[in-house]
Subunit: 249 residues, 2 copies
């Protein structure tokens, strides 16, 4: 993982607990806290955390083929993961919001199988994976959380693999985005899209023109109101209905 702008920090563990608060967005802290681990165990976890960033729009966090040594939790901003096919066409694998983990698909090959780029200003928590795996042998709760996270990602990828209509895909994308924002305490109905229409198209396996047309159609039908990157869900119920075949709940 490249660390173009690692901030100098004298001590990764601050006495005032700032670091712990910072990492409350990370899935791991939740796991550990909920397991009732003592302060020493939490220290162990936080010692292997590096806060890196900011990455600016367009900056790459890692590239396909880079040696894998760490996973990372998004603290702020949006990360896009993608691969390029033979013809240079971009295939977007996912968008990663604050609280979500990137790099899990790199474990098996010990190399990142995709590129990761910041869509806006991104802050990350970097976890050395070897250290984390070692720690997990002493913290069953952490191990279990890692298994859960990995298992989750298997299912996510299968979502958009079905042959759904462009409308269903778009609705599913918006509903999923909305849920993930809501889970982090953001508005569930007003979304700021940090990605371009082309990014969305490459993610949903549609042409950019189709994305444009679908958004227009959804707006004409009163399901959403969209202005540039700002999107409001006017009829969440009908959107969920549209997305149901894709999301399955």
């Amino acid at each position: 993982m490249s660390t173009p702008s690692r901030r100098p920090r004298p001590n990764p563990i601050a006495d005032d607990g700032n670091e712990l608060r910072f990492c409350s967005t990370c899935a791991f802290s939740d796991a550990c806290l909920s397991q009732g681990y003592d302060k020493a165990a939490l220290m162990d976890l936080h010692v292997l955390v590096e806060h890196i960033g900011p990455f600016h729009e367009g900056e790459h966090i890692f590239r396909e083929g880079d040696e894998f040594n760490a996973i990372a939790a998004v603290r702020a901003g949006t990360v896009k993961t993608y691969v390029l096919d033979a013809s240079g066409q971009e295939q977007v694998l996912g968008f990663h919001l604050p609280g979500e983990i990137i790099g899990l698909n790199a474990i098996s090959e010990a190399r990142y199988p995709c590129n990761a780029v910041a869509l806006d200003t991104v802050m990350l928590c970097r976890f050395s994976f070897p250290k984390m795996a070692l720690l997990a042998t002493r913290m069953p709760g952490l191990q279990a959380q890692l298994f859960r996270l990995l298992s989750q990602d298997i299912g996510k990828a299968a979502l958009l693999a079905g042959d759904y209509s462009a409308d269903q895909r778009m609705a599913a994308f918006l509903v999923a985005l909305s849920r993930r924002f809501a889970q982090r305490g953001f508005s569930a109905t007003r979304l700021h899209l940090t990605m371009t229409r082309t990014d969305i198209a490459n993610y949903l396996r549609l042409a950019p023109e189709t994305v444009s047309r679908v958004l227009k159609r959804l707006q004409e039908d009163g399901l959403i109101r969209v202005d540039r990157r700002e999107l409001e869900m006017l009829d969440p119920a009908r959107l969920e209905e549209l997305a149901r075949p894709v999301l399955r709940h």
Copy 2:
């Protein structure tokens, strides 16, 4: 996991090493053997293994919503995993050959998110997941192998998610199948398809008619020779070429 026909076995660990040979198809044994664990550690692993089966064609191994408590390695036969959408349409998630693991996507929810059915006579190695996770805390090699397996499956699902032509999908399906058979010591060029055309169609997100037409086209072009469920790859190089955009190597 339902176990309709568990065979009675007096002692899961046979002195003559039969069990070890049996499980040589399981990814876990490889991991442990290659880590240089002592016999006691291997015993631990094999104590939590249950050999179950046979499951006959059409028999379900687990169903969507079933409580998750074990993953399983296929020892013999083919397992199809699938979900049903609202309209009853089957969406095939994958075909699992001997040596491959099923149930990894159930960890996060503690329930199986899909159905698993035997396409022919299937024998399984059942691993209690809680026990295995516990054992993994004492065997870092086993933990690493579990992480690798989970990570692998994340990437696999993304393969067919791209928008490829019917020919590319079919070629990728055949090439991947061929490689997996070859890895297990079977012929890489002569395949016996255990699944129906409709199964393949539901996996590749095509209409059954399209599968039929594509196979015919590939045969007319001299890439394959197909007779019912028997398929011979006549020009593996061109097939790989066709499949490259999907498989990426």
